[in-house]
Amino acid sequence: MSASYPPLSRKIINVAMLALTGLCTLLVLAVLLTILGYLLWKGASSLNIAFFTKIPAPVGQSGGGVENAIVGTLKLLALASAIGVPIGLLGGIYLSEFAGGWSAFTIRYTTDLLNGVPSVVMGIFVYTLVVLPMHHFSTMAGGIALGIMMIPIALRSTEDFLRAVPRSLREGGLALGASKSETIFTIVIPAAIYGIITGIMLDIARVAGETAPLLFTAFGNLYDSPGWMQPTASLPVVIYNYAISPYDVWHQQAWAAGFVLLSGLLVISVVSRMVLARGKKLSHG
């Protein structure tokens, strides 16, 4: 064995490869910052009051906004949450507190697979399920599509946070004479509530940007969409339609809409993580 070990060639390889991994990380971060920075720059410069208060102007005229799409997106998310959150919560409670053996495995595995279904396929499904029988596109159909897409994550994150509650808490509840369901609703769920809320908020943020399933369910609309049974505009679909259009005015609107959508998502995402951190602090003293 020589005096210096490992040999110089391997020391050089060591340094070169480790530097390369650092470069990979820098590259990914640079892409991230470029995307966020460019969107911020283009989006913020295209924003104005009319963007939030007016419906789209006719082609060729400047001005106008996407008030109908913002309202549409909020309505779609409300309906989606009304469908996805209860089912996800119940399923999560079932998996964590009641299910065992093959039934738990089957549901868990199917949930993960459902989460992996491409969003465009989910759009086709809801089209055949809701739009074909009703014969027209609607806010209802779009909300159902997003709601179904919300279930897997709501369910799995609820399950994960419930399972993280220590067994001793459950036993304490049962030892005091509470029934199993009383223990679940008064001890286990309150102990996990911050986590569950965080999971659901992140879930809403995730479906808020979905475009493909809305193309054949909520479709789009140049005007406000009253009620739940008519086609509606939504921010993601507006971004798509405006981005592929040939008009500069619409490109600007697309940037502004992208900026508003992404800021909304990031705010939800950061706030919910802060809620989770605060919850952890509270429960640990």
């Binding site: 490992p6 391997r10 060591n14 480790l18 991994t21 650092g22 470069l23 990979c24 990380t25 990914v28 971060l29 892409v31 991230l32 470029t34 995307i35 966020l36 460019y38 089912i87 919560l89 119940l90 399923g91 079932y94 998996l95 549901i107 993960d112 697979l113 992996g116 279904v117 491409p118 969003s119 465009v120 396929v121 086709i124 499904f125 089209y127 055949t128 399920l129 279930i151 369910l155 799995r156 199993k180 369901s181 009383e182 679940i184 609703f185 995730r206 808020a208 940007g209 979905e210 475009t211 193309l215 054949f216 479709f219 798509y240 981005a243 592929i244 490109h251 959508l261 990031l266 995402s269």
Partner: protein
């Protein structure tokens, strides 16, 4: 009334409330079975939805399946006017863009994961991983927007130089229009790289310290330890992250639709415009006239569903077999 009885300690536990007719809410609160059944319905609804999904895709693609059989996948004529549907250009475009995207994102993603797991201090690593996971939260349509207005103009400046030196290769020749397999692959690679990084990093971190120490004790360098002792130990999880990314890339719709050009042709050149399965569904679904056209598009959805399910299932199985560590994808 019932409440005062419940609150009195000297009433024996068993007889609480039994002498009164219980309200529905009381029965619900006490009835573990009721709660069990209701939550069971929530859990099983997943199976019902998945079953319905498969059934609808199958039933609503029957005209196309009966008319074209397996030839549907390999015929390259897509002619809605004459009712002839062959999906080869879309299948080809989907496979080419997804594989090229992985070829770009695997080395970069794995490199970054190694840096974050093995080299960076844990606090810095956590902060950077949080930032990188933000990339995964950006909606697909915004990647498309960036693709059209930032990436494609940049490629217009870069690709001609590239073609000057490598243009003789069949995969790089031809006129570059901006929209192409290549542009779509780059966008896809940016979209899947956060998944590869965050999952691989988790898996690498979970490799036992003894695995590293054993090799270090033999006089290996840091890189040797990482490449020969840590990465092989974590290879199942890394493969899992790659399959998950592949499934995602295959099914990705909006960003690809916006930058691939949407031309139903098969080209060896990566610089040519093309089409993918998800893109043709997004573009033509609402314009489909006639049942056969609609069923052909839904059959494309069925194909996409089956393929992504296979890769997702493989990914989950690989990650399940990783003992003692749960990886959330």
């Amino acid at each position: 009334m019932a409440n005062t009885v419940l609150a009195t300690p000297e009433v024996p536990f068993e007889s609480r409330g039994l002498d009164k007719k219980q309200t529905w809410w009381e029965r619900l609160r006490k009835g573990d079975e009721v709660v069990h059944l209701i939550t069971l319905a929530g859990g099983w609804s997943i199976l019902v939805i998945t079953g319905l999904l498969v059934q609808h895709l199958w039933v609503y693609s029957r005209l196309s399946r009966h008319a074209f059989g397996w030839h549907f996948l390999v015929d390259s004529t897509w002619d809605p006017v004459n009712g002839v549907f062959g999906a080869w250009p879309f299948v080809y475009g989907t496979v080419v863009t997804s594989l090229l995207a992985l070829a770009i994102s695997i080395p970069i993603g794995l490199g970054a994961a190694i840096f974050l797991a093995e080299l960076a201090p844990r606090k810095l690593s956590n902060a950077l991983t949080f930032l990188i996971e933000l990339l995964a939260a950006v909606p697909s349509v915004i990647y498309g927007l960036i693709g059209i207005f930032l990436l494609i103009p940049v490629l217009f400046n870069v690709v001609p130089y590239f073609q000057k030196y490598f243009g003789w290769l069949p995969i790089f020749n031809g006129t570059f229009y901006g929209v192409s397999y290549f542009s779509a692959s780059i966008v896809l690679s940016i979209m899947v790289v956060p998944f590869i990084i965050s999952i691989s990093r988790e898996v690498l971190i979970s490799v036992p310290v003894s695995q590293r120490e054993a090799m270090m004790a033999l006089g290996a360098t840091k890189w040797d330890v990482t490449w020969r002792a840590v990465v092989p130990y974590a290879r199942q999880g890394i493969m899992g992250s790659i399959f998950l990314s592949l499934a995602r890339a295959l099914g990705e719709t909006m960003a690809v639709t916006m930058v691939i050009g949407n031309v139903a042709q098969v080209s060896t050149s990566l610089m040519a415009p093309g089409y993918t399965i998800a893109a043709v569904i997004a573009n033509e679904f609402t314009e489909a006239t006639g049942d056969l056209y609609l069923h052909a598009l839904i059959e494309l959805g069925l194909v996409l569903f089956v393929v992504t399910m296979i890769f997702n299932a493989l990914a989950r199985l690989l990650m399940l077999t990783m003992k003692g560590h749960e990886v959330v994808g």
